[in-house]
């Protein structure tokens, strides 16, 4: 099968890229290893659409999306992605927490983001359900959240409507060059040919990029999330904590979608099914109850786990590759790709089109990795 662009990976990054490419008139083929669209971290996250807490290198793309894409995304795609721009509270209970939060806030402010530290009274005004033990928070009023279960599928359905071909159950074995350009994608069943190849396959991207001699230093990390039964409407902000006990929000439906960690995420085993670890949900629950006591009786109906692609320096690679013309990389999102996906999709479509990206992605280059003694210079 031949197209203008072959996108590898049907997560939110791949699907957003396919959508914006198709909108520009490209004939796009998306290849997905799983039988299911958006089956990785795209559906398994807390739904954060935030700028605060981000590395300054990926802040421009986050801000671009929040200012220009997310507010009208539901209309644009024709499906409700449940986007709410009601702010992000990052909570602290100790002076040490506040120090951590302040450092993050200062860095973001320096990049022009409206994020500031607020005291317990203001925290309570914003969210009266929080524990009295919360002594402060960083507050970014322009942050928000969307529904991770729906947003990826919305991009997929919209892309499909624009004529994008999706093939599921296609595991990419290698990318092959023709006359020095990346051109052919070989899967377990077939071969596909395109002028451009966009690699947005999460952790799998490392293996696939390796077939054309490019290494992206990332490891796999387990992300775990839970969802509760519908609860009465409580608050609209995105919540997180200084120690990342948990992060998440309440959806339109009333259920809370919350992620969290135990501290062993990098060291979890894979038995072939993305099941939770038995100690994670209890740990997240303890974290939530400490901050939102009211939720102690909320019933958890499901918990998920999925693998994220964690870069050695915590920010993704979004770039063309000079050694491999025709290849565009969009991977290594390190567990925070959901909120920036619309921006990434837009930028990827620009990279394919040979345009100057709408925002600064100079910190996200593929060739930024050097040994520590070289890096120091």
């Amino acid at each position: 099968m031949t197209g203008d662009v072959i996108v590898i990976g049907a997560g939110i990054i791949g699907s957003a890229s396919a959508y914006y490419l198709a909108k520009r008139g490209y004939k796009v083929i998306v290849l997905e290893k799983s039988d299911i669209i958006g089956n990785g971290g795209s559906s398994r996250n807390g739904g954060g659409v935030r700028q605060s807490g981000r590395d300054p290198r990926e802040l421009p793309i986050a801000m671009y999306g929040i200012n220009n894409l997310w507010p009208t995304l539901s209309e644009e795609l024709g499906y409700d992605v449940e986007y709410h721009k009601k702010g992000n509270l990052r909570l602290g209970k100790t002076e040490k927490h506040l120090e951590t939060l302040k450092k993050l806030a200062d860095k973001a402010s320096a990049c022009g983001l409206d994020v500031r530290m607020i005291g317990p009274k203001e925290v309570k005004e914003i969210n009266p359900y929080l524990s009295d033990e919360v002594i402060g928070a960083s507050w970014c009023p322009t942050d928000g959240h969307a529904n991770p279960l729906k947003a990826t599928l919305a991009y997929y359905m919209a892309a499909r409507r624009l004529g994008v071909t999706y093939i599921t159950g296609e595991s990419v074995q290698e990318i092959r060059k023709v006359h020095g350009r990346a051109r052919i994608v070989v899967t377990n069943h077939d071969t596909y040919e395109g002028e451009y190849i966009v690699l947005a396959a999460g952790y799998e991207s490392r293996r696939i990029a390796g077939t054309v001699g490019i290494d992206i230093p990332m490891v796999r990390k387990l992300i775990e999330c839970l969802v509760t039964e519908a609860e009465p409407k409580m608050f609209e902000q995105m919540l997180g904590t200084a120690e990342a006990d948990f992060y998440g929000h309440q959806t339109n439906h009333g259920s809370f979608v919350i992620g969290g960690s135990t501290g062993f995420e990098l060291y979890k085993k894979d038995n072939g099914t993305p099941v939770n670890y038995s100690d994670t949900v209890p740990c997240i629950c303890r974290g939530i109850i400490r901050y939102i006591p009211r939720l102690k009786d909320a019933k958890i109906v499901r918990a998920w786990a999925g693998w994220s692609d964690n870069m050695s320096d915590g920010v993704p690679v979004i770039d063309t590759v000079s050694e491999v013309p025709g290849l565009v990389l969009a991977c290594g999102f390190t567990g925070h790709g959901f909120g920036i996906a619309p921006g990434v999709g837009t930028v990827v479509s620009q990279l394919v089109a040979g345009e100057e990206p709408v925002c600064d992605i100079s910190g996200l280059k593929y060739d930024r990795f050097y040994a520590k003694d070289v890096a120091k210079k």
Binding site: K269, N271, T273, V275, N276, Y277, S278, D279, P282
Partner: protein
């Protein structure tokens, strides 16, 4: 986090789980069984009917008594049964997380047996989600565990054994079963189960299904209609019934989610009821040390679930070195024979979907039984259990090859012969002497045996039939005799009523009818009951 360890953890204290626990504990394993219910036994304690099979399968014993026996046996070999213990998940490395009270506990087992059973299927029709539409199993739980009548006027959808058995139990509970409906062209369950429902007067509508449940906040009526061979409604065939309850018995689905969560290889196998683990001969899943037993690995019934449970208990015991390979082989050999005996006959798993026209004896099957729920009067004479002679003698209206033989053992005078194949039709021995003890009538799980004196010398016949309804009629009560179809055939008077501990809850009702109705009268209603039914 503390993890408590056991040799064997079993999830589900139903027939297979308890059986597995017993076998494993007998061989010295430290076993715990978790069950989310407040009572153990799974579905056994609501099975008030007598089970089929032979002695080794606990035939003619009522399900809840089998449950009591299993619990006593489990207790005697030191099995811990934890109730109200909900398994939250089966995680990596055979870890089971259990909710007990307001806490969660972590356990690991060197072996795990999942015996979580099955759940009822639903079917879509307009109004299916109205209160008053319920699974037949749910109705059975209400009646037999909680003593609550599911409704007054009930329509049953589904003619498999569950639909038939529950219909009979609804009648026993005093409900009015207005119709038994199935979209299939023939009855799915045992003929004897259908016959005991039909003769009480319940009409069967095969090739029919529900079009609409009526009512605004609860069921007040139902419309059924005939379907063609593609299951499409045939216009102009609508039939309406005033009912307050619709019971749905359209099959079961294995509750195999824990196995899937653990990463066991699964398959969608319609023959086994849906999503099931891919297993070896004795329930071994694709993950070493994790086994599946009972309905969770494929829908059958409680008797085979108990044998499968024992098998997986044995296999787990040998896997962990609690018994030798030789002991295992010997034990499995016994169990295999027992299971094999149950999996024979017309309803054997291997015969599912096959059209059977003749019995193993070469006798044409009763078409009336398959389509209307009762053997027609002109068909009954061809079966070996139906003979004629002077004086009291058994008439056995058992016309399908099913694995069951308690009648053979029940008769101390050897009047009844089945032989070594327990699926053979029972035959009446020509030169035997019936002493009218009634043991055969009470022992037949299908309630298909009658003791008949075709002529008492005064122009009357006396028919002794199994009777499991309340109130029990009294000698001298007058009423009507109903035929196999449930239609009145003649006037009748109660001549004798026998109850005995040996009959295990089945009463023997002897009715007197004119001699010419000896071979057609098969049920009794008092005049008052018949009048009520007519209304």
């Amino acid at each position: 986090m503390k993890i408590e360890r056991f040799d064997l953890i079993i999830v589900g204290a139903g027939p297979s789980g308890l059986s597995a626990a017993i076998e494993a504990a007998k061989h010295g394993m430290r076993v715990v069984v978790f069950d989310e219910n407040a009572k153990p036994g799974g579905q056994l304690f609501k099975q008030i009917h007598k089970f089929f099979g032979s002695k080794e399968h606990k035939a003619k014993i009522r399900g809840f008594h089998i449950g009591e026996q299993l619990l006593a046996e489990a207790d005697s070999v030191g099995v811990k049964v934890e109730l109200n213990a909900t398994v939250v998940g089966l995680y990596q490395d055979r870890e089971v997380v259990v909710r007990m009270g307001d806490e969660v506990h972590h356990f690991k087992g060197d072996a795990i047996i999942i015996a979580t059973g099955a759940a009822e299927n639903m079917v879509l029709f307009d109004g299916w989600n109205l209160p008053g539409v319920m699974g037949a199993g749910a109705a059975q739980t209400l009646m037999n565990l909680y003593g609550v009548k599911p409704g007054e006027k009930i329509l049953m959808l589904g003619s498999g054994n569950v639909g038939l058995v529950v219909s009979f139990q609804l009648l026993q509970a005093g409900c009015d079963v207005v119709a038994l409906v199935d979209a299939a062209p023939k009855i799915g369950g045992y003929g004897v189960h259908a016959a005991k429902v039909a003769r009480t007067g319940v009409p069967f509508y095969l090739s029919h299904t529900i079009k609409k449940a009526e009512g605004t906040d609860h069921v007040t009526g139902v419309t059924i209609a005939e379907v063609d061979s593609h299951f499409q409604f045939i216009p102009g065939t609508d039939k309406h019934f005033d009912v307050d309850t619709i019971c749905v018995a359209v099959g079961l689905s294995p509750m195999s989610q824990l196995l899937k969560m653990a990463g066991c290889k699964m398959e969608d196998n319609p023959k086994r009821g849906g999503q099931v683990p891919i297993i070896g001969e004795y329930g071994e899943t694709s993950i070493p040390g994790i086994y599946a037993a009972g309905d969770v690995s494929g829908i059958e019934e409680a008797s085979s679930a108990m044998i499968e449970g024992r098998m997986s208990g044995v296999v787990a015991a040998e896997y962990l070195g609690f018994m030798t390979a030789e002991e295992k082989a010997e034990k499995l050999d016994q169990l295999n024979q027992s299971l094999d005996a149950l999996r024979q006959g017309m309803f054997a798993p291997k015969n599912r979907g096959k059209k059977i026209t003749e019995t193993e004896e070469g006798i044409p099957v009763s078409e009336s039984l398959l389509h209307k729920g009762f053997v027609a009067d002109d068909e009954i004479e061809r079966y070996p259990g139906v003979t004629h002679r002077a004086g009291v003698h058994p008439v056995i209206e058992c016309t399908q090859n099913i694995p069951c033989n308690p009648c053979q053992d029940a008769c101390k005078k050897h009047c009844i012969r089945i032989g070594s194949e327990i699926t053979s039709l029972p035959a009446v021995e020509p030169d035997s002497t019936c002493i009218d003890c009634g043991m055969c009538v009470a022992s037949c799980p299908g309630q298909a045996i009658f003791l008949i004196n075709e002529d008492d010398g005064a122009g009357n016949a006396e028919i002794t039939l199994p009777y499991e309804f309340l109130p029990l009629p009294k000698v001298g009560d007058k009423g009507v005799a109903l035929g196999r179809s449930g239609s009145p055939v003649c006037e009748a008077e109660v001549a004798r009523v026998r109850s005995s501990k040996a009959f295990d809850g089945t009463n023997l009702l002897t009715i007197r009818v004119p001699a010419k109705y000896a071979m057609t009268a098969r049920f009794f209603k008092t005049n008052a009951q018949q009048k009520e039914a007519a209304e």
